[in-house]
């Protein structure tokens, strides 16, 4: 099986997001970056499991600057065979990113193109569906199980309050949610081997911006907490009803 796993770079999960003084950008001073957890923990690992059971190759794809190579190398250390970075210096929107991935993948006969269910930075869940539309592939979002039998995939996806099971013939694209696989930690041998695995850098194709971020704001700070006597829960109920008006 020929598998492609698309990965993003996101701030580490404990990052406190700060804005620049003019509010136009995120202040990236001191921010540590990681591979987006859904891409690493679930999409990449499920792809590796499929390769281990049925044979094939796992390629990692990232759209971004040379700084991202450390994240790509981590994916190689976890077990991917090779990697591609489409060279883009500035941060771009979902449609631009999807266009790059689609143009790269077109005609290369990947059986499955994997994405994480969303990035923990922009939380859009859009790029996978966009790539699927550009390539005219079926796309299944929020996959929590994936079983293969020959060229036929059985995918279970999360829906509100339940789940849906879908049968579909490859090639397909899907996004990985919690449950699809278990996180793997790279070992020393993997880290050493990753240094010798191929990482191809490809030029981006031109595509216009369809969106632009004008600026950012932070959520309003909560006022100080109102402490309630643990013996007096009638008082809490009264406040929730009369003051907060939520019950």
């Amino acid at each position: 099986m020929k598998l492609l796993v698309c990965v993003s770079k996101t701030p580490e999960t404990t990052t406190k997001i700060q804005l620049t003084a003019d509010g136009k950008n995120i202040d990236t001073t001191g921010v540590q970056y990681i591979m987006n957890p859904y891409d690493e923990w679930y999409a990449l690992v499920r792809a590796l499991e499929l390769k281990e059971s049925a044979g094939g190759t796992v390629t990692i794809l990232n759209v971004g600057p040379a700084d991202n190579d450390s994240i790509i190398r981590k994916g190689l250390a976890i077990g991917a065979d090779d990697a591609v970075r489409i060279d883009v210096t500035d941060e771009k929107d979902s449609l631009f990113t999807a266009r790059q991935i689609a143009e790269y993948a077109r005609g290369k006969d990947y059986d499955i193109i994997f994405f994480g269910k969303e990035t923990i930075s922009y939380n859009a869940s859009e790029v996978g569906a966009m790539v699927a539309e550009f390539l005219d592939l079926p796309y299944i979002g929020d996959a929590i199980a994936l079983e293969m039998e020959g060229g036929s995939a059985t995918v279970t996806r999360d829906i509100e309050g339940g789940e849906e099971v879908i049968e579909v013939a490859t090639p397909i694209a899907l996004s990985a949610a919690k449950g699809l696989a278990e996180q793997r930690i790279p070992n020393m041998r993997g880290i050493m081997m990753a240094k010798r695995k191929p990482l191809e850098v490809v030029a981006a194709v031109d595509y216009p911006d369809t969106t632009r971020i004008a600026g950012y704001t932070k959520p309003e700070e909560k006022g100080s907490v109102k402490l309630i006597d643990p013996e007096n829960m009638d008082e809490l109920v009264r406040l929730l009803h009369e003051e907060a008006k939520v019950i």
Binding site: T13, T14, T15, I17, S94, L95, K117, I120, S121, Y122, N123, S125, E126, V127, G128, A129, M130, V131, A132, E133, F134, P138, Y139, G141, D142, D158, I159, E160, G161, G162, E164, V165, I166, E167, V168, A169, K178, T210, T211, R212, I213, A214, Y216, T217, K218, P219, K222, V225, K226, L227, I228, M233, D234, L236, V237, L239, H241, A244, V246, I247
Partner: protein, 318 residues
């Protein structure tokens, strides 16, 4: 025209559809244009979407729409939008929307915002939509630069206002492709509001000490009519199903009331819940960081406080 995909919930138009249509109405008012709704299938009660602001409801009825296939739904919505001359298309940011929004934006090469939480505005001459980013740690103002625009709306984002009136319902014919996917099982638990739509949520953390003690959480949820949730360590330990996990790498929620018991409030947890309108934190550790993000706090043993709160709620509901 603003065109909104009015999605039914288990065969009827409920809160999801009402909020979407009302959001579309408010968007149309900002632009000074008409608000139309699109219904895929023969769900009864389409005319009643008028009460939330749709002037006309267009229905596409086809056997190909009976089971969900994202590519087929995308063609239906894209072609309807083209035929009707829609300039803004609105979808839900739920499991349906996450399968369609990106496809639709790509098909129409339209600028899109997925997971908007506020009505669009014209700002500095640009159509601008706000959405949470970094799992709720910040908001971004996104300008949409294309003639046709796609927005998906996060649940519980606006106050739904009934405007009254009935919509005119007309049928629309669209040629649809064959589905490449086949739904072999569709299973939804009834009786409980799904977390992303829930207005009231009761959540437990490691402080509950094990799945055998979860009654204190479920009893309070039952009394309130709330949905239950949990922190990541709880889901990772299989004390509760993973779909109950709220936080940065779980479900992001924005209920009116979030009650957290035995959860210390790590930044990854706060990221998924800090858009809740009111937060109550119950923890025996007065230094728990969650108290800094709470509106109301109770410092005490949750095994004493929660049953007391459950009784107080029952008394209040009488």
């Amino acid at each position: 025209m603003v065109l909104v995909y009015a999605e039914p919930t288990n065969g009827a138009f409920k809160k999801v559809a009402h909020e979407l249509v009302n959001y579309a109405r408010k968007t149309a008012d900002v632009l000074g244009v008409e608000c139309h709704a699109l219904v895929l299938g023969d769900t009864p009660g389409a005319e009643a979407l008028g009460a939330y602001g749709a002037g006309t409801v267009h229905r596409v009825i086809s056997p190909q729409l009976e089971a969900f296939d994202a590519a087929v739904y995308t063609v239906a919505i894209a072609d309807a939008a083209k035929k009707l001359g829609a300039t803004v298309i609105i979808l839900p940011h739920n499991s349906t929307g996450k399968n369609i929004t990106g496809r639709l934006a790509a098909r129409l090469e339209a600028g899109s915002v997925a997971g908007a939480n506020a009505v669009p505005m014209m700002k500095d001459g640009y159509f601008t939509v706000t959405k949470p980013v970094f799992s709720g740690k910040a908001f971004a103002d996104v300008q949409l630069l294309t003639d046709v625009k796609v927005i998906s709306l996060a649940g519980n984002s606006i106050r739904v206002e009934e405007t009254g009136g009935e919509a005119t319902v007309t049928d629309l014919a669209i040629d649809l492709p064959a589905a490449k996917t086949k739904v072999v099982k569709h299973q939804v638990a009834t009786g409980r509001v799904p977390l992303p739509e829930a207005e009231l949520v009761v959540s437990g953390g490691r402080g509950v000490k094990g799945p055998e003690h979860w009654d204190v959480i479920t009893d309070l949820a039952e009394a309130l009519g709330a949905t239950t949730a949990c922190s990541r360590p709880v889901a990772d330990s299989d004390w509760r199903p993973h779909h109950e996990h709220v936080g940065q790498t779980g479900v992001a929620i924005r209920p009116n009331l979030y009650i957290a018991a035995g959860i210390s409030g790590a930044i990854q947890h706060l990221a998924g819940v800090n858009n809740s309108k009111t937060i109550v934190v119950i923890n025996k550790d007065p230094e728990a960081p969650f108290f800094k993000a709470a509106d109301y706090g109770v410092v005490g043993d949750l095994f004493e406080v929660l049953p007391r709160l459950t009784e107080a709620v029952k008394k209040f509901k009488g």
